[in-house]
Symmetry: D4
Subunit: 247 residues, 8 copies
């Protein structure tokens, strides 16, 4: 930044550029030279070579329009929360797309992706939590992380979790997805010193209150080393796991 | 009941008793013969040879008055939720009482208690949950159950729980006391086929919302075999465990 | 466990087995010899000779696949939360199944069941609570308990409850199912000294808040001897009642 | 109202009063003749010969000032939510006052009260609910209603309630005060066809959530014939019972 | 009751009846002579000459079955919460029925109803609250009360309320139905000394939280003289108003 | 008001009008002369030359009936919360109407509208918030305010907001529409000294709890200068912005 | 802003300033010349000639330190949420300060304030709401607005409100403060077309839930023209009223 | 682990150890050789060379006892949630301890700590959030991380945040602490691609509901890259930040 300003000042002082040109440049400065677009790093990541569309609540037409704009730039594309019904309506017009029904996600890969790095473990407590877990896992993979999956390892069958701990501990970050009583992140956190991102799901009924029960349990996790994202937010967990894994 | 009525009818028919006497008996019938006092079995248990006072919110004078009425009948007495401050004020006037500061309970034993039977395991997740766990354990003991205690065996240190499982499985009923994320009952339920009574505690802060977090987690316990009592209700868990243990 | 270890040690010391064989056995030890699968008792119960599938949210294909795997092992099968619509789609492919529309449950009995034992009383406050009550009752029967049903005995018509109390008292465990104000478990608990499992239902409207009102009322039950399971969790209540009844 | 206007019009037409006098009267009309103060009937009741001060949160000085203004008019006075501490500070300066410590109320009777009429039954579930019940009962008595009290008749000891039903049914209105599970109004409503005003109390702990549990239970009362006032609002129940009883 | 018992005793003593007959009568006593059916007064009202079915959640077949059983006894019938769709399916088989689409109620009048008595005023704040108000009004009329309706008199147009106050004050009981901010009962209570039953409705959106906003406002009504029933519970308000009006 | 009364008095005194005429006028006085209809200013605004119908929950027939009554008076008409489906059913019968699908609003302009005045800025955080923002913007325009729109300027891309601040500051009032974390009003309030009306939307999922999250965030806005309307209440924000802008 | 940049460019081009000086200026530019402090208008208002300290939770020492820093700059000072206890501790060291015990505010006026302009009406429903109302009123006066107060004009005594409407309508903005049922803003909004800022207070008990009841009622206000600030946020309402009044 | 087992097997096979010794070792195996203590990695971190005590709710005696046990092992010690009052009582008996009043933490450093690594940025929105922020910062430092602090950079003064962004971006992990509307983490997340741990605080009043408002806002953070810990849980955030920073 300083360098750009210094150059401009020198050029003006030496009359290489006119006052009008200098003024023009300085007026653009807060948005271009100071680079607020650059400031916008989280989006840059998505917008640069890999972009994401939150599909829920968008019409097929809206999705196609945004997707095409992104693909025209040569970016890779991830669409989350894409129902099979909507996918059926757009798939013919999105050549090269691959749909993951369990994760309810679509990817279109334009640029060859780099070799995946690190390792993110994605755990789900029950089989009903798998869609959210898959959204997290796929997001990690889309952003270039290696992923190992451990599904249906909830506290109702502790031996399955314990039997996998050696593998789970190899990960640099762990995403733990659970509904109902939301106990799994706490149990895992008692067994590892890896950062854990907990994702409550709306799986359950009655006093699960659409995921509130799991959310509160995770926020109160006793062992430490756990942070929580929104209910059913598999993408958010995967994206944050990717940021951490790549440190 | 039928027998009593039949006898009354026979006696009247054979003029052993006068119509006035019969009428008198029949008028008392709903309360004595039909025995509403007997109907009131839960209370009978407490009122017969072992009675309980919920101490919270009662003044020292009120406590003493009720306690003396009970002791006069020769019953054993359990006072729950008795703060040390109040205990100090009444102890001189309740000879023979024994105060358990951790459980915040007082017992006065007038009748020799029977040999304890069965086995109730009382677990606490953290050290801060011990007062509630002790209230449950003491209640069990007061009502004549053998009790084994396993404290500070929460999910943050799973090995302590696992290391005690063999002992815990010996119990006929398990009381599990936990605050914060309330995960312990679910984990235990995944390891045993013993009935579990879960007690959420108000231990925690922030999003524990005075025990709501633990309560919801326990109600949503995935493995099955768990039922829940009110937040901090150690007495209720102990009393129910006693009913079950004595089946 | 000790026995197995002792044998292994003796065999190794006496060179009956080689160090390699011993090592192999010891490495498997945490999962086979220590028998985490055995540890998993609650599941064993379900997985051994009687297994349960939570039907809600599963597709007909998923249900059939899991059901067939279970039946192949010769186990008896209980499917809960099975809507009539899904049942219609799978019934042709599950020969020997019997569907209970009110309980929304399906059973397939492969092994002759043992003579039912003990007695569980299942009460419902209103007629709208019957589906949940039936799920509890059927679960008890599936696991080999005798069941007596008392439906529509809510506090709006106290005489119906009182008129049945003699029969109700014969049970070793009582399951009480109620929506709206959830008062029935408290009233029953005031009349018996039998363990009570209360099931709030989502029956009601407005300030019943989908069962929250009944849930809170049951958790605050004054008489004691009551524990609560999740809203509409008839299976959970029946399963726990079975564990208690069989003590 | 019409009569007053007609008289004014006649008087003006016949020049008994001048236009200025008429105008003066008409301008006052919305507040005096139309009588918005009269419109204000609920307050009139309190302000006329019997006035009420809500004592909570008022300083001794504020209470005395308001009380003296009322007494100067010759009205009878009821002060609710008056703590013993505040009463000690004002009693010397309020001669003729009578303090009811259980109800936390003070009355000063200046005008001889009429013979009480009708009958309001006031029930409390537990002994801890008595202060709220007494506030209701005293309010009824203050406004000239006969009151019969039935305390500690909660569902934990149903026979005490049933044993009093004959007396309770004599009332024209029933006030039922209960905390915890708030089941008593529903049970009473199943036994009578008298209007019932239910008062939830903040008695309880944990999931009673300061009376929310009892409040919801009462709002969902199945039998019908029950309406609910605010938590701990003994005065409100007593005042409404008085309005109904005097119909 | 005493008289019946006395007669039985006399008859037995004088051998008018045999011991067996006496015993038979006494055994029935708790349910017939003590008259638990009579005890059940609220239901008697409904079951005697005028009965009510809560239609919501019942199938057409269930409704018809219950309705026919009631009509066979010669009672008048009120079905509440009856959707037009269900009504279409049953109307051919319920001759003499009259459907009120706004109130979503059906009545079948078998016995000539008595001349309506008293006066209940039913107010609604908005036009969307009218269905609930009509349910209340129709319930009152069904039970033999005169009803005056004042709809769309909410606080957004205070003059409409004030313009009707003179008529409203003629009522012995006032039912006030309001959603959203639920302010109308408080405003009316400030203007009358008539008992008010407030009915919150689920009308509104966003922070109305399906009627919670109106419910809380009504429970906190400042002027006094207001009690509240469940959200959208027009029947409950009408039934209670009827009990009060007929005092 | 005084003038009208004075005239009436003079006319009566001078016998220009008869006592009967005077009485008639005075009886109407509270509703006509005192002008409660005039008092009703908020409605006058809507009812005079520009009226509004809240379309949600109204049938096509109901909408048409109200709309025609309004248009007959020559008023301009705004219908909010009008779904495309309902619009399709009524459009043929509302000639001259213009439908705005994004705002889900319909306007019918009968009277030429005045030149718009002032300036209201309407901001939306995300694209999903635009329907609510458009409802606010259209409401402002309907009531004669100039509007500038700034959509998708949420905190995820701060530079877009900052890049528009100079334009935004030109407004006299700012309406800020946001769902999810509801942070935008706080950020804007930290940058301007213009009054801000914040509108939480139900956009989001999980712990957004249908807009509760955004609502609470806005109520707690730290910088000051922010007030909040109901969730999704675009009309309310636009109407209030119009009142303020026209000061 | 442009002018400053243009001057800098000209000065540099004409060598009036050196490149180093220009660079220095440009580097400061985002914070001084671009004037983020100026951008920060809401704060400027407070920091310029009139600054505000939120006193709650600050120690006497912290308060004094901040206050002195402000006063040193010659600004006028408003301290809100200042308890009498803390005021007693700091008053000797804040000469010229004036404490308003009802509003719990302190002002120190260093600069002569301009003649107050416009008119803000501040209404309170009850006497207990006055502290919050006074905080709002005092805030308005501190920022140079004329204020008219109308206290204790809640819906329990509608005539007092109606009797003041003519005066209230003279205001350009109305602040309405109410606890309990929070009905007053809705009633006022039905009578005026003035912008209304509603302030819920935590006054009440039981189901008022510390102001939640009033908050929800105000957010659901039917008549329109109402926006809401945080519970007990008298300052926020006064500050926003000031912004609006000065438009 | 394998190595240890292999050695044991070899020793037994070669009769270096007796069967009894082998058995003894193997029986201890689950706790020592299998090393559940090692499994317990999160605790190892704390228990090894750096241990933590959660001070809240512990008596001075309890604290001292635990602290001394830890220090005897030569570990460094961190006590969180230690009030000044309790610190005063224990400081004489904990030589070498250093108390941080703002963070309410105590550290005792026995082992020389390693050079801190990486960089964690800790931001607070307001000055009242600083205690929680300091707890997070101190925790990071205690576990060997470099920390940069940015306090009072909330959205009310956006320029202060923007002016620090260049520094903030240097961190590998960012902890953002905010109460009230909880907007800061979302704003920061829109400006960086660094993992963010958000800590809601209970700072605020009214509708902040003791931190619930901030908690919900943070869970709904739009930009992505944010995870949340419990309200006021500065330690949890610092500990997780340390785990991430050290990857």
């Amino acid at each position: 930044m300083k360098a750009i300003l210094a150059e401009l000042v020198r050029d003006l002082y030496s009359h290489k550029i006119s006052p009008e040109q200098a003024l023009k440049k300085l007026e653009d400065y807060p948005y271009e030279d100071l680079g607020f677009a650059k400031v916008d790093h989280a989006r840059e990541l998505k917008k640069g070579t890999a972009e994401v569309i939150f599909g829920q609540g968008k019409t097929p037409e809206q999705l196609l329009k945004i997707a095409k704009a992104i693909l025209k730039k040569g970016s890779n594309l991830l669409v989350t929360r894409l129902s099979p019904e909507v996918y059926q309506k757009i798939k013919a017009r999105l050549p090269g797309g691959r749909y993951y029904p369990e994760a309810r996600c679509l990817t279109v890969i334009k640029k060859k992706q780099l070799e995946p790095v690190g390792l993110v473990a994605v755990l789900s407590a029950g089989t009903s939590d798998i869609p959210v877990a898959e959204e997290a896992a796929l997001t990690c993979e889309f952003f270039g992380n290696r992923v190992s999956r451990f599904y249906d390892v909830g506290v109702a069958g502790l031996h399955r979790l314990l039997g996998n701990m050696e593998e789970i501990k190899k990960a640099r970050v762990i995403v733990v997805v659970a509904g109902m009583e939301g106990a799994l992140p706490s149990v895992v956190a008692g067994l590892v010193k890896t950062p854990i991102i907990a994702v409550p799901t709306s799986v359950g009924y009655g006093a699960s209150f659409q995921g509130l029960s799991a959310l509160l349990a995770m926020l109160n996790s006793c062992p430490g080393g756990v942070a929580v994202v929104n209910i059913d937010n598999g993408f958010g967990a995967g994206y944050l796991a990717s940021l951490i894994n790549k440190l």
